[in-house]
């Protein structure tokens, strides 16, 4: 299969602090890669670095001409000023047909366009952000911590949505998550990250209690350390 992304010996330093160390991995077309790790492990920084937002050492090689869609973590609700969903999309594209297409893809009908962006539920907002990322037909979707369980029953969950998009659009997906069940159910490849990679490979092969305690244990140790002084 075709390689979409190749990362070699990636090191990211921000304000002199090492955030990501010695990370190498490859993503093939159509794969789902999950990035698992505790808070402050550098997961978000990794996505942003792949998007070119931070300086780095090492190699990041995207397939030539690849298009990337990005859903950032926790985009705050827009409460300061009124903006309709249609106007929000028009900040990215003027193509109305495309706006309607992505809206349908995430399960809304056209009437939704007139709604105020600040007055929808957080589950709906997340879908709108996915639709935003799908504009201009990306090959790869980078998704920072989808929040599950906020959709009202009867709707498809955010993961079912991603599964469907992957199938219909042949998307390659890079997903940051805390949720272990998602790693097992949904992904082909996992990177356990705590600044340096703790494990990487097929979820069923590389994730075990030992790895998890190594991944999350450190956080607990830091915590105890902090309280001891």
């Amino acid at each position: 299969m075709e390689t979409i992304l190749k990362v070699e010996n990636l090191n990211v330093k921000l304000d002199d602090e090492l955030i990501i160390c010695n990370l190498s991995f490859e993503v093939k077309k159509g794969e789902v890669l999950t990035i698992l790790g505790p808070n402050g492990a550098g997961k978000t920084v990794l996505l942003k670095t792949l998007l070119g937002m931070f300086p780095y050492e090492g190699k990041i090689e995207w397939k030539k001409g690849v298009k990337i869609g990005y859903v950032p973590q926790r985009v705050p609700f827009v409460k300061d000023f009124p903006i309709s969903i249609e106007e929000f999309f028009k900040l990215k594209t003027k193509n109305e047909k495309e706006i309607k297409e992505v809206l349908t893809l995430v399960g809304f009908d056209e009437s939704f366009l007139k709604k105020n962006l600040g007055e929808i539920s957080s589950g709906q907002y997340q879908r709108i952000l996915v639709a935003w990322a799908l504009i201009s037909n990306p090959d790869v979707l980078l998704f920072d911590e989808p929040t599950s369980g906020i959709d009202i029953s009867g709707e498809e969950t955010i993961y079912q949505l991603l599964e469907r998009l992957k199938r219909e659009k042949n998307l390659t997906i890079l997903l940051v998550t805390h949720d272990l069940s998602i790693v097992f159910k949904f992904s082909d490849y996992v990177i356990c990250l705590n600044k340096c990679p703790v494990c990487q490979g097929k979820p069923k092969e590389v994730i075990n209690p030992e790895v998890l305690s190594k991944l999350y244990g450190q956080e607990i140790k830091f915590y105890e350390h902090y309280h001891g002084h």
Partner: protein, 254 residues
Amino acid sequence: MVTNFFEILISGIFVGGVAGYLGSLMLSRKMTIVVDPLSHLALPGVALALIFQKDISLGAFLFLFFGAILIWFLEQKTKLPTETIIAILFTVSLAITFLFLSEHEIEEALIGDISKIGKIESLITVLISLFVFFLVQRIYPKLTLISISEDLAMAEKIDLKKYQFLYLLSISAVVALGVKFVGGLLVAGLTALPAASSRNLSKNLKSFKFISSLFGMLCAIFGIFISQFTNLPAGPLIIVSGLFLFTISILFKK
């Protein structure tokens, strides 16, 4: 009625309109309050202009623009909160203004004076207003996205620094124009009141921008007319008109 009433009115409509338009953006950027201290930075510029008998808008613009850059620089250097830096610059500029100006000039600097606007001045005011209007129109979508989410904006490869700079430039220009009409103390109201009223009445960005500009114009028209008939200063009347519209907007809030 004064001989230059038409010039005053036309200038007022344009300045009010562009102030309202920019004000809608400033409301969305959570930056309305910044205009207030920023506008006081214009005061020493106004003072110098009055002393050397130059146009007060020019003096205000130069001081504002360099003041804004100074704030940015001090912020980077000292890591002090922006509010603290602005408070320092604000009080210092106010102190300097009071030191050098006569009582009448202080009044003009603080609440504006439109009585001297002539044909050429009003033409320049209209042209600058139009220029700023088109500049703001250009940067509006990108700044809206930046204020929704810097992450989304950066993913779209938007140069945040460039747009923030253009934004600052626009604010400096509008405050400089506004200083003449409502003075350095009141100019924040000229941008904030129409936008706040408009938000109460709007359901989307398009009507928000439109009503905000329209209300800016109406404030200027009301204020200038009432000033003609009452002989009270136009500046405070423009702001009071803004308050009137704001009150109405609350009654019709959506």
